[in-house]
């Protein structure tokens, strides 16, 4: 791989001592990273390890605070995405940003369409060029179709073609197989190998270790913003990488004994052989007073389970039971009426009304409870809100403050307050600690434990294993829509769960 026949020096990208600090968190500390021409260099690490920050530094989104990055031996001085792109650094995201109503050709050639006499766009020539480009990499897409009509994998290919058209010499693939099935994944792997053959340097960011070992020449492991190791893939095993990702810390579970859980009790919530397009034969239950963590990579099925519970997706077969009775909600309204509440993943997007006050958000699910003779009782509403602001120690100037002025952690707590006012017996929390600081995390853990001790059944869907282990009773691990483990949190470890969730079925069946 060091000899690519072009005679150019092998090192394409050289980053040394790169650091990046965000308010409250050191996202990268003194990280070295090199990439050679024709090399596939995998970047792995848990959520928050600093992978995406490093990618963003290299691709010009965030200028590093410390250290320097050299491309082709020249130091990058201007950090903007456009400049990086002009230098030949291209990032292909999971969901590429394309212009949906322009054709594939127009997207690929955007800004550099061939023109006749510098004026009229030469459409035929553009389409031909695109077709050639796509064919060269065995990308099978009609260049005249608007991107909006393409499937997710096809859009990804368009994004790759766009990078190739601009002669990208460094391609960054960020979780490229997240939206791909086995066949499309195999195609992508072939393309990656092809590009590497032709001298393109590729940074491959992925959670799926099997893919990493199939493609990568070298593997760099990041943890908590620091470089753990860079080694040739041939000298590593998957187990070793998992250990490196997990670190030496033994993540003991700090779960309080949950005496309320009785083995014999009918589960408050039970999945029996549930099938959807994403889930396969899912079978487990959540008892009263129990906190169950559902863990898996993005796309492993946790989110879909939550959707099923809120009536946003329907099982094609199998049965969901709530307190022993078959449960088939038509939508959130029915779900809430039957005693399930979903705290969605992204509070600002799906959970809260940012312009409304804390009080107005808290009571939104339970307007009836603050309605007297058909009209809202603002006094009652304030009392309810103040009660929960106190109970969950939500930091806010007053209950009349607009929710958008609250920090992420406090917004998350407002969502939990909504869950409490809904009087639901079963709570489903999606990524409840995502993007909140350590202190707020601990508080959210405490609140969730407290809810369980009051007899609620709590299901927490998350990709953050370490976080879940700190407050759940049981871990249900999902991989590609299947339950691969259902174990007490006490008797498992971070590394064990990580190992179970990171294998890629796509590769296995390719």
């Amino acid at each position: 791989m060091s000899d690519n026949g072009t005679g150019a020096p092998p090192v394409l990208l050289y980053a040394e001592h790169v650091s990046k600090h965000f308010p409250g968190v050191q996202a990268l500390r003194d990280v070295d990273f090199t990439l050679e021409r024709g090399e596939v260099h995998a970047l792995v690490g848990q959520n928050g390890a600093g992978k995406s920050t490093l990618v963003k530094c290299i691709s010009g989104v965030h200028p590093p605070d410390g250290g320097r990055i050299l491309l082709d031996g020249r130091e990058i001085t201007t950090y903007t995405p456009k400049h990086a792109f002009d230098l030949g650094i291209a990032v292909v995201h999971q969901r590429p940003q394309l212009l949906p109503w322009l054709s594939v050709t127009e997207n690929v050639m955007l800004g550099k369409l061939p023109a006749r006499k510098g004026l009229m766009i030469d459409r035929r020539k553009a389409d031909e060029l695109t077709r050639d480009l796509l064919a060269r990499f065995r990308l099978d897409i009609d260049p005249e179709v608007p991107v909006a009509y393409l499937s997710a994998p096809d859009r990804q290919q368009v994004a790759i073609a766009k990078a190739l058209y601009r002669n990208a010499k460094l391609l960054i693939l960020d979780e490229p197989t997240a939206a791909l099935d086995a066949q499309r994944s195999a195609q992508l792997f072939a393309l990656v190998e092809d590009l590497a053959q032709q001298g393109v340097g590729i940074i491959y960011v992925s959670h799926h270790l099997e893919e990493v070992f199939r493609l990568a020449h070298r593997v760099t492991v990041l943890r908590d913003g620091e470089l753990v190791s860079t080694q040739p893939a041939s000298e590593l095993s998957q187990d070793e990488v998992v250990t490196l990702m997990a670190g030496h810390r033994i993540t003991g579970s700090v779960v309080a004994e949950s005496a309320a859980v009785s083995e014999e009790a009918v589960p408050a919530l039970e999945f029996s052989h549930v099938e959807t397009t994403l889930l396969h034969d899912v079978d487990f239950g959540v008892r009263q007073g129990e906190v169950v963590g559902v863990v898996g990579l993005i796309g492993a099925g946790g989110h879909d389970l939550a959707q099923v519970l809120f009536g946003l997706d329907r099982p094609t077969s199998g049965r969901v039971a709530l307190q022993g009775r078959t449960y088939q909600p038509q939508g959130p309204k029915q779900a809430i009426a039957q005693g399930i509440f979903l705290v969605p993943e992204d509070p600002a997007r799906d959970g809260l009304v940012p312009v409304l006050s804390v009080a107005q958000n808290v009571t939104l699910v339970s307007l009836k409870a603050v309605t007297r003779r058909g009209l809202l009782s603002l006094r009652r509403e304030r009392e309810v809100a103040e009660h929960y602001v106190g109970e969950l120690s939500i930091a806010t100037a007053s209950v009349n403050t607009a929710v958008r002025n609250l920090s992420g952690g406090n917004q998350q707590k407002v969502l939990l307050a909504k869950a409490l006012t809904s009087k639901a017996e079963v709570l489903v929390l999606e990524e409840p600690t995502q993007g909140v600081d350590v202190h707020a995390k601990a508080e959210i853990h405490r609140i969730v434990r407290d809810l369980a001790s009051r007899g609620k059944a709590v299901m927490v869907v998350s990709t953050d294993i370490r976080d879940l282990l700190q407050f759940v009773d049981r871990m249900v691990a999902l991989r590609a829509g299947r339950v691969v483990a259902d174990v007490p949190a006490r008797s498992t470890s971070y590394a064990q769960i990580l190992d179970l969730t990171v294998g890629s079925v796509a590769v296995a069946s390719a």
Binding site: R95, K333, V353, Q360, G374, L378, N400
Partner: protein
């Protein structure tokens, strides 16, 4: 091209739906204009939201120098009675804008209501029957708007624009293009275009339905669960849906309510000028949106209130009136109103 998705998203939302971004807001970012919510609230009231009042004071001072008749009870009543019909529709528009919707069919729907009533009166129907039929007709139109908007297959802009064009045709068809020129009992109630004509408790009678609607709208937005749902849907429809709010049903109710207010406007306006015709309320759709927005109601939902929109209506009426008093032609009315609406939106943007 390598900006994170979040970056793009927030960029897009910030540009368009500023109300839903989580960006840093100035003090009192809570929905203002819903009046005072206890002592703590009043301290938080954004001074910016009161700018129409400040502008009005300036206009009043300036105009009163040029004409001694400007500052008179007579002229005050004049402004009120002229602003009343637009004011009633503006309240409905304000509610719809808060919920993230809008209604462009109000102009020809007002005509529709008045024509139904006018034709019935022409055929000697009892006043009560004619009025109820007119209001019912407009309400039914609102209901249809609501059902279509609730499907979410087309933006309410398009749905109500289509409805507006449809109603224009229907109105013209019903009247044959010629106005109904005798509104009988309605004229007795609301007529007397000029103040002093038919006073009722000291004010021109048309102002009473207006003031009542303003108060009801204020109460609706503050105390009615349906009003609260409008704020929630306009502020974040996805969150409202996931909170168990029946989004579709709520939208249908709100558009139907708008239809009823349009019907009332039709009665007041046609009674006031003793005429029912297809061009009775030309441009009311855009003027009512303009008034609500001048008052600080967010064009894309989530924020606004009855008294805010009332300020918009008052400023609108005052500008029209004072321009005439200063002695400029009515063309200057239009010009200054155009300037005001642009400034209004820009001021609201700065305020965030």
């Amino acid at each position: 091209m390598s900006t994170g998705t979040e970056g793009m998203k927030s960029l897009a939302t910030d540009g368009l739906v500023g109300a839903t971004t989580a960006g840093p807001a100035l003090s009192g970012g809570a929905p203002n204009g819903k009046g005072r919510q206890g002592a703590a609230r009043s301290r938080n009231v954004d001074v910016f939201t009161l700018w129409p009042i400040a502008v009005m004071v300036l206009i009043i001072i300036a105009t009163s120098f040029t004409s001694s008749r400007f500052l008179s009870v007579f002229n005050f009543e004049n402004i009120l009675s002229q602003a009343a019909p637009l004011g009633i529709v503006t309240m409905g528009q304000c509610i719809l804008l808060i919920s993230g919707g809008l209604d462009l069919s109000v102009g020809y729907n007002i005509s529709f209501a008045s024509i139904i009533t006018g034709l019935l009166l022409e055929h000697n129907a009892p006043l009560g029957v004619a009025v109820l039929a007119g209001i019912f007709a407009a309400t039914a139109v609102g209901f249809v708007n609501g059902v279509l908007a609730a499907q979410g297959r087309a933006h309410p802009f398009i749905i109500t624009l289509g409805m507006s064009i449809f109603l224009f045709g229907l109105d013209t068809q019903l009247t044959g293009g010629a106005p109904v020129n005798n509104m009988k009992g309605l004229y007795s109630a609301f007529g007397g275009y000029m103040p002093g004509g038919f006073p009722f408790f000291g004010l021109p009678s048309v102002t009473w339905p207006f003031l009542i609607v303003v108060l009801l709208t204020y109460g609706f937005l503050r105390w009615a669960p349906l009003g609260r749902r409008a704020y929630a849907i306009g502020g974040n429809e996805a969150a409202a849906y996931l909170s168990g709010i029946p989004v579709k049903r709520t939208k249908i109710y709100l558009y139907t309510l708008m239809g009823a207010l349009v019907g009332i406007t039709g009665m007041v306006l046609s009674g006031q000028i003793n005429e029912a015709s297809f061009n009775l309320a030309q441009n009311f759709e855009l003027q009512s949106i303009a008034c609500a927005v001048i008052g600080g109601t967010a064009l894309f939902g989530g924020r606004g209130g009855a008294f805010r929109s009332l300020q918009g209506v008052a400023l609108w009426g005052l500008v029209q009136n004072s321009i005439l008093f200063i002695g400029f032609s009515s063309n200057y009315q239009q010009m200054s109103l155009g300037v005001i609406i642009i400034l209004a939106v820009m001021v609201t943007r700065v305020q965030r």
